[in-house]
């Protein structure tokens, strides 16, 4: 029994149309594949926050200068008697938290880098112009110092992004210390000599690498023995060179918390803790504490930074979804060309699943599918329309996609050349009226064809798989895999097994550049079905004992040699033919099998051509099959 149903003209209830539909001609395929390649260091998400969280309370930026602070680092009034220097100061810092979940439109690979940009403003006093005694004391509160700055501010607030001239916020750690820098001269005010300018690296790193600074405040620390005077390795080597050697201070440092957590490829949560306010005051003058404020001022300065907004960026490795247009037609040799005809194009619009890197088997999807469509539709497709008694179709289990051979009203097969066209039903309109039940069908010419071999059944003609024509010559063995319907010639047995004997549906087709045989056999895996394998070689190529015909089980590697094969020389065709009949069994169907033909001394085969025929469940012998092929002029 054939795998195909036959639809004869006597089944038509109302005529039939046989159309080679011109609309179905396609001469150009147009793709818009997305790149889908990873791009490095792209900002994949950005959010600016004007509200932060302090404890469990939401706080708008900028915060009030009267808000409580988290770090206070006073520099107690200190008198260095032998140098005659008096100094004082304080530094305050308030921190806040931001948590947020980013939802990305496109997924990214891995965990992105987190970048935090602080925007803020600075209010300051005039440098070195306020008398020492007027400047805030070490024990003044942060709000008191801020009020002092408000009352004595010099000019407008300075807006900034990234770093103020007081702190280097981009280092993601800041020193919270009032540093007073002594000048040999009076009020030397070059930019580099701004007092308490803390450089994060490397100075701060050197300075604050002490593992366990003793003392909770400056005063205690100064007495701890760990406090140091310049020059000292704990002091930064640069920018502190003019420091008074006897100035004590308490190193305090605040490091930002910058956490980003991957929830999935599109969702990332951040949890960051950053400073939102920094207040600073420092002053120094010559003379003992008892001396009046008329003694020469060395320097004085006070300022505060308020963070006005926090911008968070996620920088990740992302996929590029840009598209490029690729258009192809077939050249006169049936190969793809970018010199397109564009009269009847078929277009693939942008679709994130269609990418430059998509694969069809091991080959590029776009080239493979494009060539397949163009090859199949270069002359259009036959479309059959017919009204048929529903009973006939129902009882014969003919439904959508059922393969059919169709005879026209003259009771002749619809053919292309000597090939009988096969059709698949694509639409059915089920019409009921007055007890009459009719199916109006439209059947489209399939991508494969057959030839009639009378009472044996349909012949399955090996067809190049989507355009790949391969020489079977020079192959050592030929394999047909029943699971994926692939026949191939390979240079050796190992290659054949690697490429064909895999189980399941995830079988990768051999790539075109392997130059292996790569043919598609029309599927149909009925148990008991017989397949005629016809092999044509040169007349003098092989004796019967030269070839091994083997059925091989893919799962267990067991082989069964086929002893019943027939060979004959046909002078008219100038070739020697080998014919073997293979019967499909449950065992092989379940476990995948290969028809394995090789020269038994492992020399390369010199096969001119090969065809597989479906012999249904006939009881033909190999010789009878050969004779039938001769009598029906089927020899290749």
């Amino acid at each position: 029994m054939s795998d195909y149903k036959l639809l004869s003209s006597n089944k038509y209830r109302k005529g039939m149309k046989w159309l080679q539909v011109p609309e179905n001609k396609i001469d150009t395929v147009v793709f818009n594949p997305i790149s889908n390649t990873f791009t490095e260091s792209v900002i994949v998400a950005e959010e600016t926050f004007n509200t932060v969280t302090v404890g469990s309370t939401s706080l708008s930026l900028p915060c009030s200068t009267s808000a409580s602070v988290d770090i206070s680092n006073p520099s107690y009034n200190y008198y260095e008697s032998w140098g005659g220097l008096l100094c004082k100061g304080n530094a305050f810092m308030k921190k806040a938290r931001i948590t947020h979940t980013f939802n990305l439109e496109n997924p990214i690979s891995g965990i992105p880098v987190l970048k935090v940009i602080l925007s803020g403003k600075t209010r300051r006093t005039s440098r070195g112009s306020i008398a020492f005694g007027t400047m805030p004391s070490y024990d003044d509160s942060s709000s008191s110092v801020a009020n002092f700055i408000d009352a004595n501010k010099n000019g407008d607030d300075v807006e900034w992004t990234g770093d103020s001239d007081i702190k280097l916020y981009s280092q993601h750690k800041i020193n919270v210390c009032p540093w007073i820098k002594k000048y040999q001269g009076y009020n030397d005010s070059t930019v580099d000599n701004i007092i308490t300018r803390w450089h994060g690296q490397p100075q701060a790193g050197v300075l604050y690498t002490q593992d366990n600074p003793n003392g909770s405040d400056w005063n205690a620390y100064s007495q701890s023995g760990h406090a140091s005077v310049y020059p000292n390795p704990y002091y930064p080597p640069i920018d502190w060179q003019d420091a008074n050697p006897s100035v004590y201070f308490m190193p305090k440092k605040y490091e930002f918390i910058l956490n980003v957590t991957r929830i999935n490829g599109r969702q990332f949560s951040i949890d960051i803790e950053i400073p939102i306010m920094f207040i600073y005051t420092a002053a120094s003058r010559m003379g003992s504490p008892s001396a009046g404020d008329h003694r020469p001022l060395i320097d004085s300065f006070a300022a505060y930074d308020l963070i006005t907004s926090v911008t968070v960026q996620l920088i990740g490795t992302t996929l590029d979804d840009s598209t490029t247009i690729r258009s192809y037609s077939l050249d006169k040799n049936g190969e793809l060309t970018e010199n397109v005809k564009n009269k009847s194009p078929f277009t693939f619009n942008k679709n994130e699943l269609i990418t430059l890197e998509s694969l069809y088997g091991l080959n590029n999807w776009m080239l493979t599918m494009g060539k397949y469509i163009l090859t199949e539709y270069k002359t259009g497709k036959y479309v059959i329309e017919a009204d048929i008694d529903a009973r006939y179709l129902i009882e014969n289990n003919i439904t959508i996609n059922t393969p059919l051979m169709i005879k026209n009203l003259n009771n002749e097969y619809i053919k292309r050349g000597d090939r009988i066209c096969l059709f698949e039903i694509k639409t059915i309109e089920k019409k009921y009226k007055d007890g009459s039940f009719i199916y109006s069908i439209k059947a489209l010419e399939a991508s494969y064809s057959t030839v009639d071999i009378g009472n044996i059944g349909a012949v399955y003609v090996l067809k190049p798989l989507e355009g790949e024509t391969v020489a079977l010559r020079q192959a050592e063995c030929l394999y047909f895999n029943n699971t994926n319907g692939v026949l191939m010639g390979t240079k050796d047995e190992q290659t054949a097994q690697e490429n064909t004997m895999l189980l399941g549906n995830n079988i990768a087709l051999p790539s075109s550049n392997t130059k292996l045989g790569n043919f598609l056999l029309v599927p149909g895996k009925n148990v008991g079905r017989k397949i005629i394998v016809m092999l044509k070689t040169e007349v003098n190529d092989y004796d019967n004992q030269d070839l091994d015909f083997i059925i091989r089980d893919g799962a267990h590697g067991e082989s069964i040699e086929v002893n019943e094969y027939y060979s004959a020389i046909n002078n008219q065709k100038q070739g020697k033919y080998f014919v073997v009949l293979i019967t499909l069994t449950d065992y092989f169907i379940e476990n995948a099998f290969g028809v394995y033909i090789r020269k038994n001394n492992h020399d390369p085969l010199n096969v001119k051509e090969m065809q597989l025929y479906n012999a249904g469940n006939t009881d033909l012998t190999a010789q009878e099959a050969y004779e039938w092929l001769v009598n029906n002029n089927k020899l290749i």
């Binding site: 396609i26 997924p107 679709n351 269609i354 999807w365 007055d434 009459s436 039940f437």
Partner: protein, 202 residues
């Protein structure tokens, strides 16, 4: 007469009306894998049914006057008298009614319920290398009420062989995503009673 038909209307208020053979003028219902031009354009194919019946007891006319025809579900069955076998031709949603006051013959246009797939949200996917088969398993893995079935082995093979490295998709609806999958595999699908039937368009 070898077949008799029956059409059941079920309305949103759970009212049911069964129309038997002697009140059925005619009907046509589709089982289409492609559009009417049998083009290769991939995608999900919507089914339809056109029904003409006699409103013998004025049931539909009364509902029309009460404006209570919307949302009717329509089941069409046919019985093979010879074999006493019932064939389920499908379930549809009534989309358009043609009812004239002075004519007892009414017409109903129906479509399948695949338009509802516009409203089924499919969440975005992670980056991975996936075959079409993987996409289908991913999509239908989250939709316990639906499944899919290949109409032939070649379609299944193709779906296993086509792979997209670094694939992903954004959140969308079921219909949109299935159409995208169809283009990748040059596939056609149609929906019938909980199952998407899949075949190649070329």
């Amino acid at each position: 007469m070898s077949y008799i038909a029956q059409i059941k209307f079920k309305f949103e208020d759970n009212t049911e009306k069964i129309i038997k053979d002697n009140s059925i003028v005619s009907f046509t219902c589709s089982e289409n894998l492609t559009d009417a031009n049998v083009s290769i354009t991939p995608g999900v194919c919507e089914q339809y049914a056109n029904i003409t019946i006699y409103d013998r007891d004025n049931f539909f006319h009364l509902r029309a006057m009460n404006d209570s025809l919307d949302g009717a579900n329509v089941e069409i069955k046919i019985k093979d008298v010879q074999n006493n076998e019932i064939i389920d031709l499908g379930s549809y949603a009534a989309s358009k009614w043609h009812i004239e006051g002075d004519n007892s013959v009414i017409e109903v246009q129906c479509k399948d319920t695949s338009f509802l797939f516009d409203y089924i949200v499919i969440p975005e996917s992670e980056i991975a290398t996936r075959s079409i088969l993987d996409f289908l398993q991913l999509i239908f893995g989250s939709l316990p009420d639906f499944t899919y079935e290949f109409l032939d082995n070649d379609t299944a093979t193709r779906c296993a062989q086509i792979n997209v490295p670094n694939s992903w998709y954004n959140q969308t609806n079921l219909l949109d995503l299935l159409n995208k999958v169809c283009y990748l595999g040059m596939l056609r699908m149609f929906y019938k009673q909980g199952t998407f039937y899949i075949a190649r368009s070329v």
